[in-house]
Symmetry: C2
Subunit: 211 residues, 2 copies
């Protein structure tokens, strides 16, 4: 039996950690909501997949809706930045970066993962008309995506990759729309060739606005 406590200094023997617990709930909730929808998941479902109980859940989130809000603000929004914005920094031409990321994160994704769609788009379509608090936060997340994309497009313009007369705000909106559209389409279709079709068309559009 090794239940003896070694006399060496306790190496971080915390059994309770607010931040870690919150993160565990959010992580589990994210996957559940991602795959079954916000209204399709119950608080009990989430709790069951957690190492905690209902008491813990409601210690962290006053209502199920507040958990949903936290998912948008604390999980999904940072994820968008991580996956779609930050990687663009490595590209001299942001337009190349956008196409590259589409290829990496969507084109190269296994079909099983594509079937779940986009976490943000899923919630926009499901919850935006249903709850004002959701709508507000989802709108903020979408605008964040658009604004950050626009910044890189402005950089592209400054570097001479984009025609002088292009409206980068408009293009940014179109680019984000295409991301949502790609995800939505590939979620509904099974056709693995569909991505290339969409990708090729977007590439053609990029060619028009490029120098």
């Amino acid at each position: 039996m090794k239940s003896k406590k070694p006399a060496t200094k306790a190496p971080k023997k915390q059994t309770r950690d607010l931040e870690k617990s919150r993160k565990e709930i959010l992580d589990v909730a994210f996957m559940e909501v991602f795959s079954r929808g916000f209204q399709g998941v119950s608080v009990d479902d989430i709790v069951k997949k957690t190492s905690m109980t209902k008491g813990a859940f409601y210690h962290h989130f006053p209502t199920k809706l507040e958990l949903g809000y936290a998912l948008v603000e604390d999980v999904i929004s940072p994820m968008i930045i991580d996956r779609w914005i930050t990687p663009l920094e490595k590209f001299d031409n942001p337009l190349d970066g956008i196409l590259q990321q589409l290829q990496n994160l969507i084109g190269n994704s296994p079909p099983a993962h594509l079937k779940l769609g986009c976490p943000l788009n899923n919630l926009v379509q499901e919850m935006s008309p249903v709850d004002k608090g959701f709508h507000k936060r989802l709108q903020t997340a979408l605008n964040l995506w658009i604004d950050e994309t626009e910044k890189h497009l402005n950089r592209a313009k400054a570097k001479g990759f984009l025609k002088k007369d292009v409206n980068t705000k408009k293009v940014a909106q179109f680019v984000v729309m295409a991301h949502e559209g790609f995800y939505g389409m590939l979620k509904g279709l099974d056709d693995p060739k569909a991505f290339h079709a969409l990708y090729d068309s977007l590439e053609q559009y990029f060619a028009v606005i490029s120098t």
Copy 2:
């Protein structure tokens, strides 16, 4: 009191009509599901907004899922043909028709209606990963939309409006993707100017593939 029955031949005094009742349930269910999502609507919700009761509902549909399937096949699919395909017949150049219909049905829609998004896209995003029966039927509906769009693009090609080397299947997929993307975007954003931004970009893309 006018409760007397005129001796004139009964002018269709049916109190029970299978088809009419089914249609009433489907119509009510469509609006409820359209605005609150399939999982956000209960059978009792639907029944309450109907002139019938639960007994009638389960006389027409064995389960809630079967009602959902009927919504896709009997309500939404015909609606897509009516709104997005049939109108194209009036246009000499189908590409003009597609842009016109986008302007009519989305650009000129009141924001209150745009907030509900697209009935098909809503269900694709919410239900496609959740239930196989849904996925299959939603996929069929999407492919119907794509195939019918492709037919008109082939007509455009035959008439010389499209470049000879364009792949009409690919373009059709991109067009439907754009429709879903437009709807999804405008549902999340509030910006009334967003439509024009998206529209302009799509128009530029059309210019590339046109003669």
